[in-house]
Subunit: 271 residues, 2 copies
Amino acid sequence: MSVWINGRLAASLDSRDRGLQYGDGLFETMRVRGGAVRLLDLHLERLLEGCRRLLIDPPDPLRLRREIERAASRRAAAVLKLIVTRGVGPRGYRPSGRERCTRILSLAPLQHRGAADAPVTVRICQMRLGHNERLAGLKTLNRLESVLARSEWRDAKVREGLLRDGDDTIVCGTMSNLFLRRGDVLVTPLLDRCGVAGVMRRWVLGASGRLGLDAIERRVRLDELWDADEVFMTNAVAGVMSVAEVRHGARRLRLGPARAASQLRAALELL
Amino acid sequence: MSVWINGRLAASLDSRDRGLQYGDGLFETMRVRGGAVRLLDLHLERLLEGCRRLLIDPPDPLRLRREIERAASRRAAAVLKLIVTRGVGPRGYRPSGRERCTRILSLAPLQHRGAADAPVTVRICQMRLGHNERLAGLKTLNRLESVLARSEWRDAKVREGLLRDGDDTIVCGTMSNLFLRRGDVLVTPLLDRCGVAGVMRRWVLGASGRLGLDAIERRVRLDELWDADEVFMTNAVAGVMSVAEVRHGARRLRLGPARAASQLRAALELL
């Protein structure tokens, strides 16, 4: 793995950085394909929107784009992770407002887990996501909920876990977003109280119209999974993952052929 | 400021550390007085309890205690911060279970803000704390809620901000815990859904009986502040801070002489 900190090859970070001290920062996990980042514009937009909401002085967008493109060009297929923290500041929670953000780029090989398009098994997690409107939707460095949820199972056959909030609505996976299709309507959970609004989720919401689907963001109850014609999960690295089976305790939901997911994967290939 | 990472003087940290990547760790902020850490046993207990709950393989307690004592002995008065992360691990949220934790100790001068015992002014924050039973009470590295809450005001006369949850109960301050006294009863918010259970809060709960006070942990509504005989905030560095004024928008609550807080400060001096 290669790591660049603020544009220079480096393996270590100032321990006073607020990214470590408080999780005071954001990240993007990007898929490199043919030496370029897929959906780079959407990643940069989300990052800058996150900086705005967390009151982090953002990195220069042009320089950041150049750094990302240069790193991505080193491999045909890879995962490129960008962390942006508020940077080094004085002790205490309150930012001085004079911090300069830290950029950490790391390029890692793509880990294939079975065939890329093979349908996956998901489970329902015990962990419940807490509500916070100020952080909802953002991919912040505060990821202990994701870590603990992903620690709930070790069975390699189960690819992903679905997370509910305290109100019993389904929010997202530990590292992906959820879509249900019923007829020609695609539904994905509203992320105004918790959850991470993925870049691939945003792309699917935009692309669904061209595939003749109506896409809706709203609250989703667990039992709606049982009535869906199709369920799939999305993230920037894996793309669109059809769900073949949902496990909830002893209960098993087996799902049929995935029409929309196949169409979306085909559209994604053309990008 | 001096920093030791895993027992050695060092200023920088492996950028793959999960403390940075996910806020996957805990911390303790300790007061050094006369070259020793005040309430060290309580800090170590809380840290080890946090490791247990986050499934982090804990540092060796004896070695850790020696490192802390050695660092503390360098200054008569200081703040000693200990971060323990899950350490460096493979990519992805799921810990491998083979990570070895990272210890980061940093010794900084004590920042005095006015007279140590002067009563303080606090405000009510807009930010609401999200519920998560798995993380409630722990001092984890996921501190964006604290950062954003502490960013709500810059007025140096306001020392602390009080945080509510989505159910409108008061939980704690951005960096301290809350106590209300009414007659001989001391009340502090229950921290089973959110908030950080401070070491000084625990000491006060234990010491209150010796001062003839009954201490209770329960849900506290905002309007109970208005009926209190006395309000104070606690943390390990500042000790016990009497609250002279609470600001809630245009509303001002002025509080009278602080009986229990003075007694507790006197007891703390004898430690």
